[in-house]
Each structure stands twice: as C-alpha cells, then as structure tokens.
C-alpha cells in the first residue's frame, strides 16, 4: 500500500531540529518545543503502528520513481514497532534532558543535535534501500559524535576518540559491503537484492560480503570482539545522552542486522554458526565485564554488551520462536536500557556519585523512588512476570528447538550474572549504610532542585517503567506481534512483492 504519510515521523524530527537551531539561546522554549515535537512524533508513530497493524506493509517511493530505481521507504510491522518504541524512549529522554541538564552554555545545541539523531534513527528503521540506509547511519554517527563530545572535557574527548575512530571504521566496512553487493547484483533496493542474490553463482563472494556486513554492523552493535569502544566511551557523557545512546544506538545495529541477514544471507549454515558463536562469546564477555565493575554507568555499559548477545543469538538460531524472542528482547532492551541510564542520572543527582563505594542508603531515605527504580532493574534481570523474562524464555525455547545447547548455556549464565550484578547494585546502592558524603561546592543535589525539575527526573523514569510493566504483563499480546514479525522476517516474499509491485 502506497502511503506518503509514513515519512511523517522523520519530517517531524527534521522540522523540530531545524526550528530549534534558530532558537539558539532560548533554552526554556527549546525544552518545550522538543517535548512537544516528540509528543507529536509519538502520536504519529502510534497511528502509523495501528495502521500497519491493520492494513499491512506501507511503502512510499521517493519522487515517484518506481522500485527498484528510486529510493524506497517501507514500513512493515517490525519497522513500525521499532519507530513506536524509539519514539517512546525519545520522548522520555527529551523530558529527562529538560529536567536534568543545567543551563550551561553547552546546552544550547543539545536539543537540535538530539533531534537530528532521532531523525537518523527513525530513518534507518524505514530505509528500503541499502545506500539510503548508509546515509541514515552516517547521520546517526555524526549527530552522536556531536553528543558524545558534549561538554568538551578531557574525559569526554578521550571516550569520543575511541568512539569516533571505531565508528568511522565501521562505516567504511559497511560501505565496502554495499559496494560488493552492488557489484554482484547491480541494484541497491533491498527487496530487489533479496530476489537476485540467490541467483549469484559465486557463493564465496556472497559469504564475504555477508561477513563484511557482519563486521561493519558488529562494530556498531558492539558484539564480541568488537565491543571495546562501548564500555570505554558510554560512561563519559551526561546521563541524558548516555540514555539515548545506551537505549537506541546499538539497537539500530541489531535491527539492521536482523533485517539484512534475514533478507539476504540466511538461512546459511556458515553464517548461522558464525553468528551463534559470536553471540555466545558476547554474552560471556559482557557478563564477565559487568561483574567486576564498581561504577554504576560502567556496569550498565557492560550490560549493554552482554545483552546484545541475546538478540544476536536469536538471529543465529534462526527459527520462528528464536527470532520472535530476539525481537521481543529488542523492544524490552530499548526501554530498559534507556531507563537504566536515566536511573543512574537520578542516583547521581541524589547522592553525587556513580561509584558503588560512595553510594548507599537510598532505600532508607527514598523508599518510593527505590520501589520505582526496582522495576527497571528487575525487568533487566528478567524476574517473572517482568519484561525481561519472556524473551529469554522464547530464546531458550528456540535454542532447544534448534539444538544450540551452548547458546542456551550462555544465555543462562548471562542471566545469572545479570542477576548477580543487579543484586550487587541493590545491596551497595540501596541497602548499605551510606558513607560520609564529602561536601561539594558546585553540586546541586536533588533536594535543591525546583519542583518542575524534580518532575523532569521522575516522570520519564516512571513512564518507561510503566511501559516495561506493560511489556511484561501484556506479554501475550506483545508475543503475537513478535511472532508475526518473525514470520515476516523469515518469509520475506510478501515484503519483496509489496515493494517491487507496489500493490497490496
């Protein structure tokens, strides 16, 4: 079904970013416009999701050039749900940033760059053309470069240096893979490639381009052994920026991997085993890393790495149940990881530190907030009936079905280590008697904030916790959607047909 309105989420973000650029030093207005724009974006995303849920895949061709000649934008159920979830966490970060960021001069450009980043993220969810996807990726990384160097202190710059170098390298590998695909098939339209790639006789070259995609996307996704930039850089920026990075950036990589590999390269025994092995090592390495950290944000960064393994493992197993589990985990992970970094920001604002050693006593002093924070923390671990539990159940089911026993073992170990790490956070941050807090002159603690700012801290955390609860308690409904997505991904004939012929 052709529908030009599917571009609205991107257009809203673009207009928002451009308008904010002209309001250079009107911070209050910037905050309001950003929140308003993201609310509008969320509403549009919701209607887009409903429309796709009822009417099926929607396509638009840029400039009315028919596929495969023009640039295709396509929204299927997977894209629509990703757009919805990303808009949700975008809105949450928008509110959180309004509440948490001080009125320093460096704040002036945060909101425009943030909206450009959101635009890139939403764009990459609906790209139906490989090169277009590359362009959205570049947009994401250049906006994220701007955000990660934000503040421009020495620590930010060091984190940024690693981040920038590895991401530039990843883009180059990604475009090399695109060049290979173009050389073999003579087209860039993803649906068109999917029909032509199976007729290529030189299977080795196809495998090589699959590996190039895997390494290029793997750096962005932070899989073993390409993840070292992530724990080295994600703990340096402000909490609001960490939240959007931790929640969305690596997940764009996972989304693209699921999309590209299910369309072009799978099922293929070689790639499946490569992906599964990498997933197992990612799970174990991330879990080990998270276990020994003594800094809240570093621990959460390592957990991002660890939990990427779940989704990649689902792709490697490549059965309907496992893919559904991976997709479910993707939804859950975006919400929870965004929330975790916001929680770390809240804890920092209350106590003045990210170090586990210096924290403590939160339960005694803030029982209500502790109860709120418990929801994302235990969702992350996957204590039933919270949202982390169901995708893991599906993944383990998928592992039994496909006979990937090592993957099941790794999933279980990673889950237990997550439990251990969160238990450590719980004991150190909430139960322990707090050490004496050193007096810090320029630190505005949570108690000094105005009421609006306090709401800006608490409201997004509560909202995302509610979404987590919904994903957990409404798991039956979410599972139906994930199963539908998994079937769509494994049998892409309909996706291809809608794009290439344009009819419903």
């Amino acid at each position: 079904m052709t529908n030009d309105l599917i571009l609205l989420p991107i257009i809203i973000q673009a207009i928002n970013a451009l308008v904010l650029l002209f309001l250079w030093n009107r911070i209050h207005l910037q905050r309001r416009i950003s929140i308003f724009g993201n609310t509008l974006g969320l509403a549009v995303a919701f209607f887009l999701f409903l429309s796709v849920y009822q009417n099926g895949i929607q396509v638009t061709q840029a400039g009315n050039w028919e596929a495969p000649f023009g640039i295709t934008f396509v929204v299927d159920l997977f894209s629509a749900s990703m757009i919805l979830i990303a808009s949700l966490s975008g809105l949450a970060v928008s509110v959180f940033a309004s509440g948490s960021m001080s009125r320093r001069r460096s704040m002036f450009v945060f909101f425009p760059i943030f909206h450009f980043l959101m635009m890139g993220i939403l764009g990459s969810f609906m790209a139906g053309d490989l090169f277009n996807l590359y362009v959205w990726f570049e947009m994401i990384i250049i906006a994220s470069f701007g955000l990660i160097t934000f503040g421009g202190g020495r620590r930010q710059l060091e984190g940024a240096l690693k981040y920038v170098t590895l991401n530039l390298l990843a883009s180059i590998l990604f475009i090399t893979a695109i060049a290979f695909i173009y050389g073999m098939t003579g087209t860039l339209n993803m649906a068109d490639i999917a029909t032509k790639i199976h007729e290529i006789e030189n299977k080795e070259l196809v495998s090589i381009s699959a590996l190039l995609f895997f390494v290029g996307l793997g750096i962005k996704t932070a899989v073993f052994p390409l993840y070292f930039w992530l724990p080295a850089s994600y703990h340096t920026p402000l909490s609001a920026i960490s939240a959007i990075f931790g929640g969305l950036l690596t997940k764009v990589g996972v989304y693209t991997m699921l999309r590209i590999f299910s369309l072009f390269f799978l099922p293929d025994p070689f790639m499946s085993s490569v992906i599964t092995i990498v997933a197992i090592f990612t799970l174990l390495a991330g879990a080990m890393g998270a276990m020994i950290q003594n800094d809240l944000r570093k621990m959460f960064s390592w957990m991002i790495v660890c939990h990427i393994g779940f989704m990649i493992a689902g792709l490697g197993m490549y059965s309907a149940v496992a893919i559904a589990g991976a997709v479910f985990y993707l939804f859950h992970d975006i919400i929870v990881k965004t929330n975790l970094f916001m929680v770390s920001g809240l804890i920092h604002r209350i106590t003045g530190s990210f170090k586990l050693k210096k924290l403590g006593g939160l339960y005694e002093r803030h029982p209500a907030k502790t109860l709120l924070i418990a929801i994302p923390l235990f969702s992350l671990v996957g204590i039933p009936p919270l949202s982390g539990f169901w995708p893991k159940l599906l993944l383990i089911n998928g592992g039994i079905e496909t006979g990937n026993h090592f993957a099941i073992l790794a999933i279980l170990i990673a889950s237990f280590v997550t439990l251990f790490a969160i238990g450590k956070v719980w004991v150190e941050v909430f139960w322990k008697t707090p050490p004496n807090k050193p007096f810090r002159k320029h630190f505005y603690s949570f108690y000094d904030l105005r009421k609006v700012q306090k709401v800006g801290f608490i409201l997004p955390i509560a909202a995302l916790a509610a979404v987590s609860l919904f994903l957990g308690l409404g798991a039956g409904w979410v599972y139906d959607i994930c199963e539908q997505i998994a079937i769509d991904l494994m049998e892409p004939e309909k996706y291809i047909e809608v794009i290439l012929t344009g009819n419903k």
Binding site: T149, L157, L161, V164, L168, A179, F180, Y182, G183, K355
Partner: protein, 118 residues
C-alpha cells in the same frame, strides 16, 4: 585498466589499515582518510568501468542505444565523498582538541582512567 585499479584499491585498504594500527594520532586520521577513499574507488570499480557514452537518452529515442556508463556509482561516490569529508573534518578537530587538552600524541597513553570525583 580494471586490474590496475583493483590493485590500487587493495593497496589503499592495506595502507589505510596499517596506518590505523599505528600509535600516532596523525597517522590514525590519515589512515581513516585513505581507507575512505579506497572504499569510494571500490564502488567506482564495482559499478563496472566501460568506455562508453554518457547515459543520456536523445530526444528522438526511447531507450539507451549504445554502451553507456553506469551513473549510479558516481552518484553514490559523490554522496560518500561529501559525508566522508564532513566526518573526517570532525575527526581532525577532535584529535586536535585531544592533543591540546590532553597532550596525547601516542594512542597507547590513552588510558581509561578512573575518575574519582563526578
């Protein structure tokens, strides 16, 4: 022609990766630039190099008659060059700031130092 270009692309990738693996910040950025240009040249070759006419359909014809050059890779490279240029400019400024602020010239001295206060 295509063989020569293929070797040049290989050489550019090799040189770029070698430079990225060096410890100096300046060599790192030069390596990334060479790698990016190598990727652009690769797209150019993989589009197929033919000696032909520009892909313009004459006013009295309906299709392209003669052998023509594929215009798509050129459009892609143009986009990739512009994007790459922006990113490289950013990376250079970043490295310069890093050098000024941190006094770091050797990548090995970049440590993930544990910040005590924040």
């Amino acid at each position: 022609m295509i063989t020569v270009l293929a070797f040049i692309v290989g050489l550019m990738y090799a040189a770029g990766i070698y430079l990225v693996l060096r410890r100096s910040l300046v060599k790192l950025i030069i390596g990334l630039i060479i790698l990016g240009n190598g990727a652009n040249l690769l797209i150019f070759i993989l589009g197929g190099i033919t000696k032909g006419h520009p892909p313009v359909i004459g006013s009295d014809e309906l299709t392209l008659g003669e052998i023509y050059a594929d215009p798509l890779p050129q459009a892609l490279i143009l986009t990739a060059i512009v994007i790459g240029f922006g990113l490289q400019a950013f990376a250079m400024v970043l490295l310069q700031r890093e050098y000024v602020l941190g006094g770091v010239e050797d990548l090995d001295s970049l440590k993930d130092e544990d910040e005590d206060e924040l």
